[in-house]
């Protein structure tokens, strides 16, 4: 079994849709999450608040520097993710297809480094 990060990216400039509009998406994601759990593939998942609430810490120099915003300027930022277990990439890609349809966003699949 390998672990994969399934991440969903949001456009920086696009406003969050209204809760009303998002309701069917939330429900579809809930159903998908339950399916992942039932299959025993679930490790962890979560949605993130908008990137405007991010804070970056850099302690690679003499003293830590704390600054407002993401670490790199980008048009897109991480909006949420799943960590799943799968036998191989094909299985992970199948979960990603279902996840992408449920959350209505592109899903990036990346394997975690082996032990």
């Amino acid at each position: 079994m390998a672990e994969y990060l399934l991440s969903v990216h949001h456009d920086y400039d696009t406003e969050f849709p209204s809760l009303e509009e998002m309701q069917p998406v939330f429900e579809a994601v809930d159903r998908f999450n339950q399916k992942v759990r039932d299959a025993g593939a679930w490790v962890f998942a979560g949605g993130l608040t908008p990137v405007q609430q991010a804070t970056t810490v850099d302690n690679t120099g003499d003293a830590p520097i704390v600054s407002d915003g993401p670490y790199a300027e980008s048009k897109e930022y991480l909006g949420g993710f799943w960590v799943i277990q799968a036998a191989d990439l094909d299985e992970a890609l199948q979960w990603a297809k279902e996840g992408s349809a449920a959350c209505r966003g592109k899903v990036e699949v990346r394997p975690f480094q082996g032990e």
Partner: protein, 406 residues
């Protein structure tokens, strides 16, 4: 002698790599051991003679080399111990599980999670046994670039756990389409090299046909495989007449007596098989089967003028339903020009506006020439020449431009 070794090796390389990949679970181990087995064959065979089962000899030798390597590395890396434990002495079989391995390897090399150019390179390297230098030369990129492309793809196969198996029935059609795309791309790059000094790269067309034959043996019931193989055979049959004096000879002017009749017969038999199957199953023929049928009509005609153009136009209509791209429409317009005259054909071509595509300019140029519109034809030849780097095609277009009146 070394030519013999090379031919046998090229035929057997994919089998050796595929079987070692299954046994050791590692593409790099399999590839290196197969390479070492070739070196051993080049040393031994000229002295001892070619063994009765050269494929078995290569596999056995490669397995020994791989085990030696793993033993050496074992002190550093205990993980390979497991691989060593599953080693067995099953003799090499020309059919059965070993061939399934080759199919697994092909699906792994053509996995949609790999970049298309990496799929082509990996397939030629691991199944075709071409060296990195040969692949780099065929695609006109520096060897270091090609080496990096292949290394990255193999690292992704390992790191992302791209499986080593034939896809499930539900995914087979999609995944097979990706495999066929790779094979056809290799063939096309060989048949009309997009750049470089050689107009035809036989090492690529031959390799694509070889892979087509392997696929056909492994999956004999897949109609699109038969279609693609027929298509490649029927195009390749025309190779002897396709270039003369360094110049591309277009189909209407080719010496049909120079066509390879054996390849044509084989291609026609496959097309008939596809038609029978489509009739029997009620499943409409796919893209490759239709393209093969078009080429069967061409190779059936004694001359360009005697070609059954209404049949060709009808096949392109069917093709447009499966593959509604502008290139199909362009080819249909060529058939229409033969059926209804160059003016009708030109109107259809102009509607497509494929200004970046050399064949669009070349088709326009030819139709304008036939309509006596020399000035416009000249401009179209100029545009076609500017849009291709193939030397034989440029030579042909330049000669045609030179023949225009005024």
């Amino acid at each position: 002698m070394s030519g013999d070794v090379e031919r046998i090796f090229r035929d057997e390389f994919g089998r050796v790599v595929a079987s070692l990949t299954r046994r050791f679970g590692d593409l790099d181990v399999a590839e290196e051991a197969a390479g070492e087995a070739l070196l051993a064959a080049l040393e031994r065979w000229p002295v001892d003679g070619v063994p009765p089962n050269p494929g078995g000899w290569l596999t056995t030798t490669a397995v020994r080399r791989a085990i030696d390597r793993i033993r050496r590395e074992q002190q550093r890396d205990a993980k390979h111990q497991a691989a060593l434990m599953i080693h067995d002495d099953t003799p090499h079989e020309p059919t059965g599980a070993v061939d399934d391995d080759r199919l697994r390897l092909l699906f792994t090399c053509c996995h949609p999670a790999l970049a298309p150019e990496a799929r082509v390179a990996l397939t030629l390297r691991l199944l075709g046994g071409l060296t990195v230098a040969e692949i780099a030369a065929a695609f006109l990129v520096p060897e270091t670039t090609m080496a990096q492309r292949i290394t990255r793809a193999k690292a992704k196969i390992k790191g992302a756990h791209i499986p080593y198996r034939v896809p499930s029935a539900a995914d087979l059609a999609d995944r097979l389409a990706a495999v066929l795309t790779v094979v056809y791309l290799v063939f096309n790059e060989g048949y009309l090299a997009s750049a470089g000094d050689a107009p035809i790269r036989a090492e690529l067309t031959d390799e694509a046909i070889r892979l087509g034959r392997v696929l056909r043996t492994l999956l004999p019931d897949e109609a699109e495989i038969a279609g693609l193989l027929a298509l490649m055979l029927l195009i390749d049959a025309r190779r002897p007449s396709r270039v003369a004096g360094g110049e591309l000879v277009p189909l209407p002017e080719q010496d049909r007596g120079g066509w390879d009749r054996a390849l044509i017969a084989e291609g026609h038999a496959l097309v008939r098989e596809c038609l029978d199957r489509a009739r029997r199953t009620g499943r409409p023929p796919g893209r490759y089967q239709l393209l093969a049928a078009v080429n069967a009509v061409h190779t059936d005609a004694p001359t360009w003028a005697d070609t059954d153009w209404s049949q060709i136009a009808a096949l392109y209509d069917q093709l447009a339903a499966v593959d509604p791209g502008p290139v199909v429409a362009l080819n249909r317009a060529v058939a229409v020009a033969e059926l209804d005259g160059p003016a009708v054909g030109l109107a259809a071509v102009d509607r497509l506006g494929l200004t970046a595509y050399h064949a669009w300019h070349a088709t326009r140029a030819d139709l304008l020439r036939r309509l006596g519109r020399s000035g416009e034809a000249r401009a179209a030849y100029d545009a076609a020449i500017a849009a291709t780097d193939n030397p034989a095609e440029r030579a042909f277009l330049a000669r045609r431009r030179g023949q225009l009146a005024g």
